[in-house]
């Protein structure tokens, strides 16, 4: 294709497209949340991107400018106290939901990104356009807490329903401890009174 997909989309949607880039020859389009479904429908119907490849999310809490080292370069291997975080300043909006779509006829894929804040982590669900994002969006909800408006079955998929928190967020620790779940009292079981 002589013209980039992101250029076609930008021409069609104007300022609903926030930015585009072609890093490492991957066509990437960042769109506004309101325009997401329109862009996906356009890609599916008119540009033949019929296959839903992947839907994931990136938590941008650790990106952004790293704080400047004062004078003598601080050893990056040492942890630092709360007055100087090692992670970057954190980019806003915090979450970036990434959709990959593939076109079989054009033999290429395109990446569509939409950014949401943590105060309002709602994205319109692409399951209305692509059945194949059903479980992928459930996984993003499970791991990051992004709600997909219009998803018919938004519940946790990889973790158990009583899990508290969203583990792939950057502020969830690598070793996170979960509260114990009380054993369900099935009919006929003797009541378990002993604690560990």
């Amino acid at each position: 294709m002589s013209e980039l997909i992101s250029e076609i989309v930008k021409k069609r949607f104007g300022d609903a497209v926030l930015e585009t880039h072609q890093q490492h020859a991957d066509d990437t389009i960042v769109v506004k949340r309101e325009a997401l479904l329109d862009v996906l429908r356009f890609l599916r119907d008119e540009l033949d991107f019929k296959m839903p490849l992947d839907c994931t999310c990136v938590d941008r809490l650790g990106l952004g400018e790293k704080p400047q080292c004062v004078e003598e370069a601080m050893n990056p291997l040492l942890t630092t106290p709360e007055s100087r975080p090692t992670l970057g300043a954190g980019l806003k909006p915090r979450f970036e939901v990434v959709y990959h779509l593939r076109s079989l006829s054009r033999r290429m894929f395109v990446r569509v990104k939409v950014r949401v804040d943590e105060e309002d982590p709602v994205v319109p669900s692409a399951t209305s356009l692509f059945k194949g994002f059903t479980w992928f969006e459930r996984e993003v909800y499970d791991m990051f807490g992004i709600r997909f408006a219009g998803h018919k079955d938004l519940r946790r998929i990889l973790l158990y329903p009583e899990f508290k928190g969203h583990p792939l967020r950057k502020d969830y620790p690598r070793r996170g401890y979960q509260p114990r779940i009380p054993m369900p009292n099935l009919k006929g079981d003797p009541v378990d009174t002993a604690e560990d």
Binding site: Q68, V70, E71, E72, A73, N75, L77, L78, T79, T80, P81, S83, R84
Partner: protein, 519 residues
């Protein structure tokens, strides 16, 4: 005010600024070995060479002064070649010591080689041998093979420590740094030479082979050995202090710290008091609280504070004493005067005398020494002593002997001063709080080591006393104490505990005892 462009970014700087400083301000990293902001410019490592439009040759950015219209490029092929060449020459005779060198993990040579070179060696001969593991001072050990001849240590000893003990000896590829024959690296800042050394040529004997640096966790804190209150970083591993390293603080100590403060943590490594005891028998904490209530229940109560207490500890202590023993005589003990020089070391060997002055002023009291008690006569005396190192220990012991109930807060077994009850006290590396140094800079002291479970902060014990009397204090952590304290102590009124930051804050309206600001 010259304006110049570095890698396309424009910056305006004060006249006399070097290019490398301007690049640091822009966040453009120019590699360097011999340049150090706290020392004079040598320009001998040639690692910081950059390309400019005003010179056909590459120019050392640590030496060149910024001029108007200068355009600096730090990443052209010529510059990269120059850096590779410099690194290759340095590494020609560098020993393969990384597995045994203490500097591994924080070594400038390792980091810069990986970032700028990463080419295999072209050296086909035997490497040169120079003095290895040579003890050159009570705290520093030299490995001359690793020396890259940046002369940072030479310049430090000459300019900062004012004791020129090191020099470059020999010439050509045999050049290295050494002490003069018959002399030692014996000035009180010798461990700073090991700090400035970018490689493992000068290392501290205290930390030698102790722990690998990537296991260390660094906590920003304040040195508690004299009233300068140098900013330090306490490196711990497995909940034990492994070493103390100075931290940059332009308000207090620039980049340096004296050896004594850096070795002070050994005092608290063993023989700690970790359970309260009354007359030698270990008791439960509630009994100790009961005993303390008896101490302050006497007609005459003497409280000897120590300037090792943080402001928060001192504030809660004074508040509790004043509430339940309003007639108590509060004095301040602490270590006596000692050696002072005009670099960093102060005569007053206590960290927080100024802080105690601020806290006591908040209660309307003046700072009085223990000498004020020499004329004390009493039959019904209770004595409460904080801290274990007091210059007027004899006087305090005499008072303690006269008292019916006496209690002492002590860190190690050397404390106590003969008091009947001994309560555990955390060391300065186990407290969260603030210190105010002699010149009015308030800094945050942070908990680097988690104390054993019997050792609680002093303010917690005083809070328990208050609660035992039925008056609950609405404070749960040091931040709450600070917020309460600043209502009463005027110089702290506009501060916030979490905003004190890594440099501390210079307090306004603070009378300074001596007129010098800093080194």
């Amino acid at each position: 005010m010259p304006t110049l462009k570095i890698d396309g970014q424009e910056i305006t700087v004060e006249p006399g600024t070097r290019i490398i400083e301007a690049a640091d301000r822009l966040g453009i990293p120019i590699p360097r070995f011999c340049y150090h902001k706290g020392l004079s410019v040598a320009g001998n490592c040639r690692m910081c060479l950059v390309e400019t439009n005003k010179s056909p040759k590459l120019v050392p950015s640590c030496y060149e002064v910024c001029q108007d219209g200068l355009e600096v490029k730090t990443n052209t092929e010529r510059v990269r070649e120059a850096r590779r060449a410099v690194l290759e020459f340095i590494l020609l005779n560098h020993p393969v010591d990384c597995p045994i060198c203490d500097q591994a993990g924080e070594c400038d040579l390792q980091d810069l080689y990986f970032a700028h070179d990463a080419k295999p060696s072209r050296h086909a001969f035997k490497k040169l041998h120079k003095p290895k593991a040579k003890v050159i001072g009570p705290h520093v050990i030299l490995d001359a093979e690793r020396c890259i001849n940046c002369t940072r240590c030479v310049r430090f000893c000459e300019e900062i420590a004012k004791a020129p003990r090191l020099t470059q000896v020999h010439r050509g590829e045999w050049t290295h740094v050494d002490v003069f024959p018959g002399q030692e690296l014996d000035h009180p800042y010798s461990m700073c030479c090991a700090d400035v050394c970018p490689v493992g040529a000068l290392t501290t004997r205290d930390f030698r082979f102790k722990c690998r640096v990537w296991f260390l966790k660094g906590t920003y804190s304040v040195c508690a050995e004299c009233s300068r209150g140098c900013a330090i970083r306490v490196d711990t591993f497995n909940n034990a202090v492994q070493r103390i390293v100075p931290r940059y603080n332009p308000l207090v100590n620039n980049f340096w710290a004296c050896d004594e403060g850096r070795l002070a943590y050994h005092r608290f490594e063993k023989d700690r008091v970790n359970e309260p005891s009354i007359e030698g028998t270990k008791v439960h904490r509630s009994e100790a609280i009961g005993y303390l209530l008896q101490v302050i229940g006497h007609k005459d109560v003497v409280v000897v504070l120590t300037p090792f207490l943080t402001c928060e500890d001192a504030y809660i202590a004074c508040k509790v004493i004043k509430t339940f023993a309003p007639q108590a005589k509060i004095v301040v003990g602490g270590r006596g005067q000692g050696f002072q020089d005009d670099i960093l070391i102060r005569a007053d060997k206590n960290p927080n005398r100024a802080g105690l002055k601020v806290v006591l002023a908040g209660f309307g009291l003046n700072l009085e020494g223990v000498g004020a008690l020499s004329t004390l006569q009493s039959e019904d005396l209770g004595v409460l002593v904080f801290g274990e190192e007091h210059a007027d220990a004899e006087l305090i012991k005499a008072l303690v002997a006269k008292a019916m109930h006496s209690a002492a807060f002590a860190c190690t077994g050397k404390g106590g001063l003969g008091a009947k009850a001994v309560i555990p006290m955390p060391s300065p590396y186990e407290v969260n709080g603030t210190f105010i140094n002699e010149f009015g800079v308030i800094q945050r002291c942070r908990k680097a080591v988690e104390p054993e479970c019997g050792i609680l902060p002093v303010w917690r014990t005083m809070k328990d006393i208050s609660e035992a009397k039925g008056v609950a204090l609405m404070v749960n952590n040091e931040q709450d104490v600070f917020e309460e304290m600043k209502m009463v102590c005027k110089p702290l009124a506009s501060l916030h505990f979490s905003d004190i930051g890594e440099f501390g804050i210079k307090l306004e309206g603070f009378s300074v005892e001596s007129s010098e600001a800093k080194a």
